[in-house]
């Protein structure tokens, strides 16, 4: 499997503070890679390093199988990006900005500009200067600029910021389309987990500059993420029955009134029956699965506070 992006123990120190430390991240061709992390986790810095805007203090970065050097520029023909927030020449109109972008990219296709604007649903903008755009509109325009040349790799830093709910939904289907139809590799960062969950194939979790985990969504889903949650005042008794009568070993008692069963051997009905027959009072019994958000909170250690 070929990696489009591959970092090896990459660290960045800014003014004595380690912002990104020891990150080894691998993105396979054609994947949608979600980079998750609370604010200040180092997501933007990591992405800037991939774009050569920030140089790693130590470690190595490989893009498209080639080592990234301080003067590397050719690879940028194959990359589209939005970093931090979309930046434009504010006095120019949207079209002028896109034309300029195409010129610098060495990309000449007159239809591409309109096509890109249509893809992001930004057609009725007339000749307004970009400086007068709302954040949502800039975000869309940034997206248009990133995809106009149909790059192989798309690096999007918090692309959902400033979009309204309709925009977010459109954006999600746009990402899917870019991935499926244009076979782009996508690296999307966000702190909005539920959004990433719906589009990503693999996620990487970053916290305090450290790469906590890299896991494919498939693995994560199969990783005991389905469970049956039983709420009962007789927690201990329920546990006893589960273990001794039903032979369930993989379960967890949470607090005084909750038991989670991670084995799919038994159906809800069978569990209910067994418990009720043993006089265990049941307040509720539901099938659930861990959302990415819970997984994320588990990984970053839950209650830690972030400024």
């Amino acid at each position: 499997m070929s990696y489009v992006v591959s970092t090896r123990q990459v660290s960045k120190i800014f003014k004595g503070k380690e912002v990104v430390s020891d990150v080894s991240m691998n993105i396979q061709r054609g994947q949608v890679y979600g980079l998750l992390g609370p604010n200040g986790a180092g997501k933007t810095t990591l992405m800037k390093m991939l774009l050569n805007l920030v140089k790693p203090t130590s470690g190595e970065i490989e893009m498209f199988g080639e080592k990234l050097m301080p003067g590397s520029v050719d690879l940028f023909k194959r990359i589209g990006s939005i970093i931090e927030y979309p930046i434009f020449y504010e006095k120019m109109t949207a079209k002028e900005n896109l034309e300029l972008h195409c010129e610098y990219m060495g990309f000449y296709n007159k239809h591409a500009i309109l096509e890109a604007l249509e893809l992001v649903n930004l057609t009725s903008i007339d000749d307004k200067a970009v400086g007068d755009f709302s954040l949502g509109m800039k975000q869309r325009l940034g997206m248009a600029r990133a995809i106009i040349t149909k790059p192989e790799l798309l690096i999007l830093d918090e692309p959902i910021n400033g979009l309204d709910p309709v925009g977010i939904k459109e954006f999600r289907s746009l990402l899917r389309m870019l991935s499926k139809e244009y076979r782009m590799t996508l690296l999307v960062s966000s702190h909005l987990l539920s959004e990433i969950e719906q589009v990503a194939d693999t996620i990487g979790i970053l916290q305090g500059g450290r790469f906590i985990r890299e896991v494919s969504m498939n693995d994560m889903r199969s990783e005991n993420t389905d469970y049956i949650e039983i709420v009962t005042p007789h927690c201990k008794k329920a546990a006893f029955i589960l273990e001794n009568q039903l032979g369930v070993s993989n379960f967890k008692i949470i607090g005084d009134t909750m038991v989670r069963v991670y084995e799919s051997r038994w159906t809800q009905q069978e569990l209910t029956k067994a418990l009720v027959l043993n006089d265990v009072e049941i307040e509720s019994l539901n099938h659930k699965h861990t959302s990415l958000e819970e997984y994320f909170m588990q990984q970053i250690g839950g209650g830690e506070k972030h400024a």
Partner: protein, 229 residues
């Protein structure tokens, strides 16, 4: 490179520059007209045609070095300020090439405006003089030719010097630093000590001009390794 320069022109509308330069030329010409009236203890301000024209040239260079710093601010420092560099530096074009294109454009603009301004200011002075006769007699053709060459060389060097503020401006990515350093530079170059100014000879300004270009280059020598935060 030419393409890159063209793109720079697209990004920055230059109407303000042309207007500003026009106003500056008018003011300098007006000054040259008034100067002969400001006699110093009975001594005339200008003793000869060469004297008058070289002072006119000095004015022009001083003023347009400051203009140059404004161009540097707009074309280079502002890209850092508004963070558009982070877009510009993700294009498949070497950073040095991008900045070099900007510098060449600025150098060209400054040089052309300085030459035009010097010519206009000189012509205005000659025209005014032929009416008011501040200076006796008619200008000698060879003197004019000699002055023309000298002014041209000095302008060439001044254009190089006008890039020096970039070095100071880039250190802190600051527009005020760029402009203030150009004003200081202007003061140094045009301050006169008993009629002898740093720019009245030819070799010194020429060396300074080359140094100016080199210093400007130094300011982005390490741009490939620099972090864009």
């Amino acid at each position: 490179m030419l393409k890159l320069i063209q793109l720079e022109m697209k990004k920055q509308k230059l109407g303000w520059y042309v207007r500003g330069a026009g106003i500056a030329i008018i003011i300098i010409s007006f000054f040259m007209w008034l100067m002969p009236y400001a006699e110093d203890n009975g001594e005339p301000t200008f003793t000869s045609y060469a004297d008058a024209l070289s002072i006119g040239g000095l004015f022009v260079r001083a003023v347009f070095i400051v203009f140059g710093s404004v161009l540097l601010s707009r074309f280079i420092i502002d890209e850092y300020k508004t963070k558009t560099v982070s877009v510009m530096f993700t294009y498949p074009i070497a950073r040095k090439k991008l900045i070099m294109a900007k510098m060449l454009l600025i150098l060209f603009l400054i040089l052309v405006t300085m030459i035009i301004a010097t010519v206009i200011v000189s012509l205005v002075f000659l025209a005014v003089n032929s009416h008011y006769h501040f200076l006796p007699g008619k200008p000698d053709g060879t003197v004019l030719l000699h002055m023309g060459i000298q002014l041209f060389i000095q302008t060439l060097s001044a254009a190089g010097i006008s890039l020096i503020p970039l070095y100071f401006g880039m250190r802190k990515k600051s527009v005020p630093t760029t402009i203030v350093s150009s004003v200081i530079l202007m003061g140094l170059l045009s301050s006169s000590n008993k009629g002898y100014t740093l720019s009245s000879s030819v070799t010194i300004p020429l060396i300074l001009g080359i140094i100016g270009f080199l210093v400007a280059y130094l300011s982005f020598r390490n741009v490939d390794k620099a972090d864009i935060v």
